[in-house]
């Protein structure tokens, strides 16, 4: 129903297309009957015994015309009809394309995209990237198909079937019914076929995708496969997948190549009926040869085309509807995180952060954080450590309100984040993740992403602070270098420094660094440590880290275990206490014996100086 609503919004376009189509049909019929008329006229002249031609619309050629003139006039009419038809086809083709591509689909695409961008993260956690992509592209295409083929074509088909039918009926009632006797049969066959073969196609597509996935993963994971000597298992798996595709295809082929000949044969049966019954009528002089029999033969052909087209449409309807349903699901998805109606303005943010008994879960009942409670003064640097899965990233993501806590409050400068405007809140927060996402765009655009309309001086200042300016200017086109799939590949350290520059550009008062060194070659890690050092200065910073140097620098360390704070304090305080922090730190520290050797060496160096 909503689909119809969509069309209604574009009703002017829809009506225009429909009007064109109906005119087209009439003209097509006219062209056909003119040809039949010509044949009949010639026959009546040449074979005096045969019946006189039936003139259309009561039009009779003037009696003083020579037969040749009449024939030429008819030929002229045929051509005129054809030219008109061509013009109209062109027109309707264009207006259909305008309607569908420019109007309907473009609108829908833009709406879905806008909605996607405003959905909360819990939506993206639940859905795989592939599924979302399918909705935003494939499913919208199926809506296009719906409007394009189902709505327009089916109306056209129904109207044209009606027109053909009434034309045939006007020629001869009995013959029409006799010839169309197989019609219901044809219709049922088409529907049955579509129903039988469609799931097979879907299944075939799935099998094909699986085969491609196997291949792609074998290429991407070639290190692992070769490293564990699993070539044979993988080859067997691929061959099995490949064979599955083949045998599924064979099944489809059998059906397809039974169906189309069967359909053809039914059409031929119509012709046979026409010969036997229609032939008798012509012989009896009831039916004219040209406008009768020949035109009938042509129309029958057209009829079966239309019927099988309609069956295809019937098949497409279900698919389009499910596609449309999935698109509407996105449009109807609750926004989740939303700004309040009357947000508390926060033009300047000092950077005081407070967690009040915060409990949080991604899925209900599966607590990630439990009664987390702490306060951070503006400008303080807080390091968060904990085992993998202990809730470090979750804690960070509550601050810019990517999620809402299940219980408790998160306060910024004394205001619950839920009372603030989300956009404004996030402008005060800069963030860098484990693996930073960069867009396939220029370096400048990637840094400038944090602040619309940033000047190039600002960009360079941010890049310099992040120690990225130097390597950027060394890139082939400096700040205008395009990154990404088709562009330049950056090292992990370079990517992270760009991300830090991006975070710094808007000069946020709160900075979140989620383990920014994790995915980086340890050798180049020191490159970004300096950048981090610069970034932290003067801001409230939360950093997930495991480097001793960073931890030592932090004003406070929060140790998380299974969603609870088990210890807080400075590096030195925590080192005194027995616990997981002490164990981990000791592991990283230089043992006494080595330290003795190192210190001895440095003393000697100093002594030498």
């Amino acid at each position: 129903m909503r689909l119809l609503g969509l069309c209604w919004q574009q009703r002017a376009g829809c009506l225009q297309v429909l009007a064109c189509q109906i005119l087209l049909l009439t003209l097509g019929l006219a062209g056909l009957s003119f040809t039949g008329l010509g044949i009949d006229y010639l026959r009546s002249i040449l074979q005096p015994g045969s019946p006189a031609p039936r003139w259309l619309f009561g039009f009779q050629p003037p009696a003083d015309w020579t037969p040749m003139q009449v024939v030429s006039a008819i030929a002229g009419a045929v051509i005129t009809a054809a030219v008109l038809r061509a013009l109209l086809t062109w027109l309707s083709g264009i207006s259909l394309a305008r309607l569908v591509h420019r109007g309907l689909v473009a609108d829908l695409q833009a709406t879905v995209y806008a909605k996607l961008q405003r959905l909360s993260f819990s939506f993206f956690d639940r859905q795989s990237t592939g599924a979302i992509l399918n909705r935003a592209t494939g499913d919208i295409q199926s809506i296009r198909t719906f409007v394009d083929t189902v709505m327009i074509q089916s109306i056209v088909t129904i109207v044209s079937l009606g027109l053909y039918m009434s034309y045939m009926l006007s020629i001869h009632v009995g013959l029409t019914f006799a010839c169309l006797a197989t019609l219901p049969l044809l219709w049922t066959a088409c529907i049955l076929f579509s129903r039988a073969v469609h799931p097979q196609y879907v299944h075939g597509r799935e099998l094909f995708d699986r085969m491609i996935l196997t291949l792609a993963e074998c290429v991407q994971g070639v290190n692992v496969i070769k490293g564990f000597a699993r070539e044979r298992e993988m080859a067997a798996r691929f061959e099995a997948d490949n064979l599955a595709v083949k045998s599924q295809q064979q099944k489809i082929f059998w059906r397809v190549s039974t169906f189309s000949p069967a359909l053809d044969l039914l059409t031929q049966v119509n012709l046979v009926v026409l010969f036997i019954y229609g032939g008798k009528l012509v012989i009896d002089g009831v039916l004219p040869l040209g406008t009768g029999l020949v035109v009938f033969a042509g129309l029958l052909q057209q009829f079966s085309n239309q019927v099988s087209a309609t069956a295809q449409i019937a098949n497409g309807v279900q698919e389009s509807l499910t596609g449309a349903g999935r698109v509407f699901e996105i449009l109807d998805a609750p926004l989740g995180v939303q700004s309040p109606d009357r947000p508390h303005p926060l033009p300047v943010c000092r950077g005081a952060v407070r967690f009040e008994q915060v409990t949080f879960d991604y899925t209900a009942g599966n607590s990630v954080l439990q009664s987390v409670d702490f306060a951070v003064a503006p400008g303080e640097c807080v390091a968060i450590v904990g085992e993998t899965g202990s809730g470090k990233s979750a804690l960070l993501s509550l601050i810019p309100r990517f999620y809402d806590p299940a219980a408790g409050r998160v306060l910024i400068d004394g205001h619950d984040v839920r009372t603030l405007d989300v956009q404004e809140l996030r402008r005060h927060v800069g963030m860098v993740f484990q693996e930073s996402f960069l867009f396939s765009d220029t370096v400048a655009a990637n840094i400038g992403f944090a602040k619309a309309g940033a000047t190039s001086d600002e960009l360079i200042a941010a890049a310099s602070a992040a120690r990225a300016h130097e390597f950027i200017t060394a890139l082939p086109e400096g700040y205008a270098t395009v990154l990404g799939e088709s562009g330049v590949d950056l090292s992990g350290g370079q990517r992270q420094r760009l991300a830090i520059a991006r975070a710094l550009l808007a000069n946020p008062s709160i900075l979140l660094l989620d383990d920014p060194t994790a995915a980086i070659d340890p050798e180049t890690e020191h490159e970004i440590l300096g950048a981090i050092e610069n970034a932290i200065a003067g801001r409230t910073t939360f950093i997930v880290a495991h480097r001793l140097s960073t931890l030592q620098r932090a004003d406070r360390i929060i140790v998380l275990q299974q969603g609870r704070i088990v210890a807080t304090g400075t590096h030195h305080e925590l080192l005194q206490r027995e616990g997981s922090y002490r164990r981990a730190a000791l592991l990283q520290m230089v043992d006494d014996e080595s330290r003795a050797l190192l210190i001895a060496a440095s003393h000697e160096v100093e002594a030498a100086v």
Partner: protein
């Protein structure tokens, strides 16, 4: 067949497929495609026969329609009309039977050839050494398998047989028309060039537009993909409105391209139709004149025949044009596939290469290595004798390396980026062959060993590892496909990380998601450690394996790792001091040479390169 059939709105299939590349038919490639049909020669020859039969049948049917109308019906012979109809019906049944078999066999043949080609490509890929995959992008390989092999299918399924069919029909229709009336046929021929010219004019334009539309479509999809992946960044920086605008512009361009395509095709199709109408009009005038004035033996009968036959002729002509562009595309696709198949791997295992004897299977269980928890044999002895290596000729990465790792020893490789640590690891795993010198595993030269048998006794964990689509359990089991659930759990227990894996949303049954993205780096790494341990390797390689694991998890892993390393020959590339200092032997590398070697304290005391490096790492900590 009526002219109206040609007037129906054709599908756009022909246009999208026609990515015409201006190159001529290449008979060598054609012949090679044909050789791929050889295993199905019987099928192929049957199809040829059926195609020829069908090429005759179709004009015959058109002729039969005309004959029945002209003969008995016009002549008033009712019995004759019934017989004629019966004959027509018999012919129709025969034709459709041929149709069924021809279509089925043809599709099956195409699928069979494509199936074989895909297997060939996969096998070829497996023969390729690692260096190939470092040079080749995944997209290119997928392009071969998806697009190019599919276009070969189209070539086999359509081009071969359909062009034969189209030729046959054209010739048949032309012959019949000539037989009926040569003057009318000449009129028809006059329209022919018009059709041909129209095709020539529109085909390249249509393919340009459809390519532009396909490209803007893929850009649109790419943009959505990027948005979804970068959603944290977009929402984090509150840039939704700007992204909306950017996407809006892409949509506009895409719809412009689509409308442009519609412009061309809605001009092209009516024009084609117009041609057949022009011919009909000409037919009426010329035929009418002939019939009225007794010119050239024309009569109503031949006019009626001409009502049915030309559509067959025109359709075939049009079809042939499409087929030609299709043939060229298929040819280009086939060429690329064959190029991949013909690619010679830089090196392969020597034909007489032997399996590395596996002491783990020598006593007792032949299929599965001893349980991961019980220390098996001591590991393998690895020896480098004067090994040099270059990825590209002339740029040596390793120079005359000599060292021995006794069975069960742990060797730490230390050095700056580019000093050759990872290259050594790559050579031990036989991912590459040394440029000169020998590598001996248990006393056997690595070139005389089958790479697969060597690596089946090896476990490798890198800094970031690929996880396959599937569950955590499936990914771990890759280390040893036959392992039971209990053995997998035992491996996790011995790494002291069972609780961490079980605390995932669905425990071991958690789907790792696209390339492991639903797990944190630390969690992914735990899976890889467990996977390596499950394989119970004799040689273990850890290349910065703990770098991305957080400190607290690492400290838990550490104890387990010590035990893991103790019972096998291990090579460890690491910056974490804890791992290095326990090594039996440390090799300090600088620009592909070993500059220092020995245990930790001894090297520190020496105050050379290692001392300097260690100081640097210790300060960074």
């Amino acid at each position: 067949m009526s002219l109206l059939a040609a007037a129906g709105i054709p599908t756009s299939k022909g246009f999208t497929a026609a990515a015409a590349e201006p190159s001529a038919l290449d008979w060598r490639i054609l012949r090679r495609i044909l050789t791929h049909t050889r295993p199905y020669a019987a099928k192929r020859n049957t199809i040829f026969a059926l195609t020829v039969a069908r090429a005759i049948q179709k004009p015959a049917m058109a002729w039969a329609i005309a004959a029945v109308i002209n003969g008995p019906i016009t002549g008033g012979d009712y019995r004759g009309a019934v017989w004629g109809a019966a004959g027509f019906f018999a012919l129709a049944v025969l034709t459709e039977l041929t149709f069924h078999f021809r279509q089925r066999l043809q599709l099956e043949l195409g699928e069979a050839v494509v199936h074989d080609l895909r297997n060939d490509v996969f096998q070829q890929l497996q023969r390729m050494p690692l260096s190939y995959f470092n040079k080749t992008k995944l997209g290119r390989i997928l392009g071969r398998v998806i697009t190019d092999i599919e276009s070969v299918r189209r070539g086999v399924q359509n081009v071969f047989f359909f062009s034969l069919l189209a030729f046959g029909q054209m010739a048949g229709a032309a012959g019949l028309m000539l037989y009926y009336n040569w003057v009318l046929f000449c009129v028809l021929l006059a329209v022919g060039p018009l059709v041909w010219l129209t095709n020539r004019h529109f085909h390249p334009r249509l393919s340009v537009h459809s390519r532009a539309a396909a490209e803007s479509q893929s850009r649109l999809t790419g943009s959505v993909a990027e948005t979804v992946k970068g959603m944290r960044v977009i929402q984090g920086y509150a840039r939704q409105r700007e992204s909306d605008d950017r996407y809006g512009r892409l949509i506009d361009r895409h719809s412009d391209n689509n409308v442009g395509l519609a412009h061309e095709s809605s001009l092209y199709l009516p024009l084609l139709e117009l041609h057949s109408q022009v011919f009909l009009a000409a037919l009426l005038v010329v035929g009418g004149y002939g019939a009225l004035h007794g010119f050239a033996g024309m009569e109503i009968g031949s006019l009626i025949a001409f009502f049915f036959l030309p559509s067959l002729f025109f359709q075939s002509l049009q079809h042939l044009g499409n087929l030609y562009t299709q043939a060229i595309t298929s040819m280009a696709g086939a060429e690329r596939v064959f190029q991949l198949l013909d690619l010679k791997p830089d090196w392969t295992d020597a034909p007489h290469a032997l399996d590395l004897p596996d002491p783990r299977t020598a006593h007792g269980r032949a299929d599965a290595p001893a349980s991961a928890t019980t220390p098996g044999t001591k590991g393998a002895r690895v020896e480098f004798r004067d090994v040099s290596f270059a990825y590209e000729p002339g740029r040596m990465v390793l120079n005359n390396l000599c060292f021995t790792a006794a069975a069960g020893e742990t060797v730490a490789l230390v050095g700056h980026t580019g000093s050759g640590k990872t290259s050594i690891v790559n050579l031990i795993a036989k991912f590459y062959l040394p440029t000169s010198g020998d590598i001996l595993i248990d006393g056997q030269e690595i070139r005389t060993l089958r790479g697969e048998s060597l690596r089946s006794q090896m476990g490798i964990v890198l800094q970031t590892n690929f996880l396959f689509t599937g569950t955590v359990l499936e990914n771990i089991r890759l280390g040893r496909p036959g392992a039971t659930d209990a053995e997998v759990r035992a491996a996790a227990t011995s790494l002291d990380c069972l609780d961490l894996l079980e605390s995932l949303p669905q425990g071991f049954a958690t789907e790792v998601g696209e390339r492991g993205t639903s797990l944190s780096l630390g969690q992914r790494q735990l899976i890889c450690f467990t996977r390596a341990l499950l394989a119970n390797p004799r040689i273990l390689i850890l290349d910065e394996a703990t770098s991305s694991v957080d400190t607290i998890t690492e400290s838990r892993l550490q104890h387990a790792l010590d035990r893991l390393l103790a019972t096998r020959t291990s090579f460890v590339v690491a910056h974490r001091l804890s791992t290095i200092r326990r090594a039996d032997q440390i090799l300090v590398l600088d620009q592909g040479c070993i500059v220092e070697r020995g245990p930790h304290l001894q090297l520190l005391a020496r105050r050379g390169a290692y001392h300097a490096l260690y100081r640097q790492f210790a300060l960074a900590e």
